[in-house]
């Protein structure tokens, strides 16, 4: 029996791992096609992303927001909800954090920074709760609403940052946040900040809530079988709103970290699809907080390494986007991979 459980765990990891390897193999074909040595290119990719502490720090810095958005998607998914609105929740959270950051001055750091973080969480959380509420009360599917709310969030923050809260320069951004609201840089000159600790804490929090609390028991029951949950006295509507609010808060933290750690001000459309990447990260991480951490680091490493590969070889950095897409493709095609694994077992 125990070996069976171990086998299950192994299977959980085997699929994403196989997906990554397969994607790299196909990527090697592309590299050959452009006339480079795949092994050499991958060596550069690896060394430049994980080969030194400095490179590792850059990788982690890029991975941090993906951890948050990956957790956001994974958390809602466990409750049976597909949150494609992480991008929008991220923008609202980011703006809320930035607003607290540049509006209040003269606060001690110990008050200002937590205040800005909480604002980011609340911003994203409320933005996430809206589709949760619409689903719970009116039965409108969350996928539709989260997509719509992405656009609203995007244009709302566009307007806020170029209109009422425009920083005054010629670029579409707000004023800088007060240094008392900024996250501490961990390894200058890289821009890795204490936001990483926040992300790890968020992963631990998500794990704790989902698997160690009554709330998590209810959320997962709603996700797996809402009718049985209802029969068991679980309020499905309330859990839907809670799941979306927590998911939104996690996405809001992604934006918060980007503002307080990286940009130090709200820049219009700074995210470049961090929220959508969260869907991929959650998928690759099998919707488990630990998996999400590793998936985010992998994606961070690929992005970090791709710049160097682009610089040092004739392999274009777009290759990495292809590899990322292939990874997602193969994870989604889990069934296919499982069959290949089984065939190998039998052979």
């Amino acid at each position: 029996m125990l070996s069976k459980i171990k086998q299950l765990r192994w299977q959980e990891i085997a699929t994403p791992l196989a997906a990554v390897i397969l994607a790299l193999i196909i990527g090697a074909g592309f590299i050959l096609y452009v006339g480079e040595n795949p092994l050499a290119a991958y060596r550069i990719l690896f060394m430049e992303s994980l080969g030194s502490i400095r490179n590792l720090a850059t990788t982690l810095q890029r991975a941090t927001p993906l951890m948050f958005t990956g957790l956001a998607v994974a958390f809602s998914y466990r409750a049976g909800l597909f949150n494609i609105g992480a991008e929008g929740q991220l923008y609202i959270g980011a703006f809320a954090a930035a607003w607290v950051g540049f509006t209040f001055t003269g606060l001690p750091r110990l008050v200002h920074l937590p205040l800005a973080i909480i604002a980011g969480m609340i911003g994203g959380g409320l933005w996430g709760a809206i589709p949760g509420f619409l689903k719970a009360k009116l039965g409108i599917h969350e996928v539709i609403n989260t997509i719509m709310l992405n656009f609203i969030a995007l244009y709302l923050t566009d307007w806020l940052a170029t209109g009422p809260f425009h920083g005054g320069s010629w670029v579409p951004e707000t004023a800088r946040i007060s240094p008392t609201a900024a996250l501490t840089r961990l390894y200058p000159p890289t821009r890795l900040s204490t936001g990483l600790y926040l992300a790890l804490a968020a992963a631990f929090f998500a794990y704790l809530v989902l698997w160690k609390t009554k709330q998590g028991y209810e959320l997962r029951a709603v996700g797996l079988n809402p009718q049985a949950a209802e029969y068991g006295g679980i309020n499905v509507a309330r859990n839907t709103v809670i799941a979306m609010a927590i998911s939104g808060a996690l996405a809001g933290l992604a934006g918060t970290e980007q503002i307080l750690g990286l940009h130090q001000k709200f820049i219009v459309r700074f995210s470049a699809d961090l929220g959508f990447m969260g869907v991929a990260v959650a998928l690759l991480g099998k919707n488990h907080p630990v998996g999400v951490i590793f998936a985010a680091i992998l994606f961070g490493a690929l992005q970090t390494g791709s710049a160097a590969m682009d610089r040092l070889t004739s392999v274009p950095r777009e290759l990495i986007t292809i590899i990322q897409a292939l990874i997602i493709f193969f994870v989604a095609a889990e069934y296919l991979i499982r069959r290949m694994l089984r065939m190998k077992e039998e052979a």
Binding site: M1, I5, T213, Q215, L224, Y231, G232, G233
Partner: protein, 518 residues
């Protein structure tokens, strides 16, 4: 007598189970051979091998005396073997005739020759005495009639050997009667029939011979006339089984459940329960007999708080619980074995332990410090209930979906019964459950009654209603049309009332019936 079919020491190994272990099986021309066994005993596997859906790992098959290799259903069909599955394979928007000819369509040029299709379907139905309207749409037919179309489909393809996989599982008692008539008519025309079931009464009612499988092995084959219910149950389970529930007379107390003028609509807004009155006393089992779909489900869901009422009042003890939330109703002393354990009763992906606290998960000792789950208490609870309710395999961490139907039901029963609720509702408590587990669940129901619970039993199995209930209420068209003590009830009278007959009419007619018997 010549055999139309012989299977000799057929063996089938699945990754973790030996599904068939050197099973011999044969079928005479023009006989009905029942194949029985508990869930997972290998009956369906054996027949799937015959129909070419599985390949055996050993043994041989002879059809009409010739050795055959059946690689796929196509080969089986060519050998004039037909199979009717539990889950029908019909195209719902198409007509009966179109479904029957599907795969061998009659053409007139490039077009379908509908007229001839209808004609052929009508001829076939007349030839075998299976009445059906060839132009009706499948979606508009009852389950029983859909099954008839499946049988006709097999006959249209020339089936002389007909395999029916648990055909009665989806039928109402009336439809079962009809099916048996059809089987007897087919036998009279020379069709040889394999009838898979785990219901012993059905075996005795319709078969010529019966073979029993247990854990992949054949236990024996007997002429139906030379065996009986007790004998077959023991062969199936492998030990002595008490078929009749052993119970003392009820000691009913005061009303625990009182329902006044209750109305409930279903999800489509149809009124399914209409001004219904009912009461259940502590220490008694009240059985609701009725053809499924007469409002039983809606009645139960309304009491449980899972469906809003459209009028009337529900009282649990002295409290009015009308439209309370499911949690509040539970906390007022209510337990429910839902009719569909997969849909309502279990989170299949949760472990046995987690399922054993569903609905109690917010209560002490399963929660500590207000929000954290107490995994030790959850584990202890699981171990106790697994032991007490004999849940197998006895592993608390196993996902519920990996257990057999009977053991899944024991999870639900264990969880609900262990709370010693004031009011216990059991809907279809033994549906799809093995003989051995049925015996166990029945005992537990009576134990709850004897501890003073008011038990409301809803079941499509008349036997179950008759053997467990102290009083029987007949539900028809959303209303309780009659309530009577169990000793004043006959199966015949129940059947009459369940189909909408009026009690007065029955009393009038019954005199004649008695006179004849005397």
């Amino acid at each position: 007598m010549d055999k139309v079919l012989e299977m000799r020491s057929v063996t089938k190994q699945f990754p973790r189970v030996l599904a068939n272990d050197q099973v011999d099986f044969d079928l005479n021309y023009g006989e009905i051979h029942a194949l029985v066994g508990e869930n997972g005993s290998g009956k369906s596997t054996l027949m799937n091998i015959l129909y070419g859906l599985h390949q055996s790992d050993g043994g041989e098959i002879l059809v009409r005396g010739e050795k055959v290799g059946i690689r796929e259903p196509r080969v089986a069909i060519d050998l004039r073997i037909g199979m009717v599955f539990q889950h029908f394979m019909l195209v719902e928007p198409l007509t009966v005739a179109e479904n029957i000819i599907l795969g061998s369509e009659l053409r007139k040029g490039p077009f379908l020759d509908s007229k001839r299709a209808i004609q052929e379907a009508a001829d076939l139905s007349r030839q075998y005495g299976l009445k059906i309207d060839p132009t009706a749409k499948i979606a508009d037919l009852s389950v029983g009639l859909q099954q008839r179309v499946e049988i006709l489909k097999a006959l249209y393809r020339g089936a002389e050997i007909l395999i029916l996989d648990e055909p009665t599982a989806v039928l109402t008692p009336q439809e079962v009667e009809d099916l048996f008539e059809v089987l007897l008519a087919l036998r009279a025309k020379g069709t040889s029939i394999v009838f898979i079931t785990h219901k012993i009464k059905e075996v005795l009612a319709v078969s010529d011979r019966v073979s029993v499988l247990r854990r992949g092995k054949k236990i024996g084959t007997k002429a139906t006339s030379e065996t009986n219910e007790q004998d077959l149950a023991e062969m199936m389970v492998g030990r002595v089984v008490l078929l009749n529930v052993d119970k003392k007379p009820a000691q009913p107390g005061e009303d625990v459940l009182k329902i006044k003028k209750l109305s409930v609509k279903d999800q489509f807004g149809q009124l399914k329960v209409k001004d219904l009155d009912l009461n259940v006393r502590s220490g008694e089992v009240l059985g609701i007999a009725g053809v499924e779909g007469n409002g039983q489900s809606e009645l139960v869901e309304a009491i449980a708080g899972l469906q809003k009422t459209a009028g009337g009042n529900i009282f649990l003890g002295d409290q009015e619980i009308t439209d309370w939330s499911p949690l509040k109703v539970r906390e007022a002393g209510f337990g429910l074995v839902p009719e569909d354990r997969h849909r309502r009763g279990l989170v299949l992906d949760y472990s046995v332990a987690d399922n054993l606290i569903l609905g109690l998960h917010g209560k002490k000792p399963f929660v500590q410090r207000g929000m954290f789950q107490n995994h030790k208490a959850i584990q202890k609870n699981a171990e106790e209930l697994i032991e007490e309710y004999d849940i197998r395999p006895p592993v608390a961490s196993q996902p519920a979906k990996s257990l057999s139907g009977g053991n899944q039901q024991k999870i639900v029963v264990g969880r609900e019964f262990s709370q010693n609720p004031k009011l216990l509702i059991c809907t279809q408590p033994t549906r799809g459950v093995d003989v051995g587990a049925i015996e166990f669940i029945h005992k537990q129901v009576i134990a709850q009654r004897d501890q003073g619970a008011a038990v409301l039993l809803v079941s499509a199995e008349l036997d179950e209603i008759l053997s467990l209930s102290d009083r029987i209420a007949v539900m028809y068209n959303g209303q309780i049309v009659s309530v009577m003590p169990v000793d004043e009830v006959t199966e015949h009278k129940l059947g009459f009332l369940m189909l909408g007959g009026r009690e007065e009419d029955y009393e009038a007619g019954e005199v004649d019936g008695n006179a004849k018997q005397d």
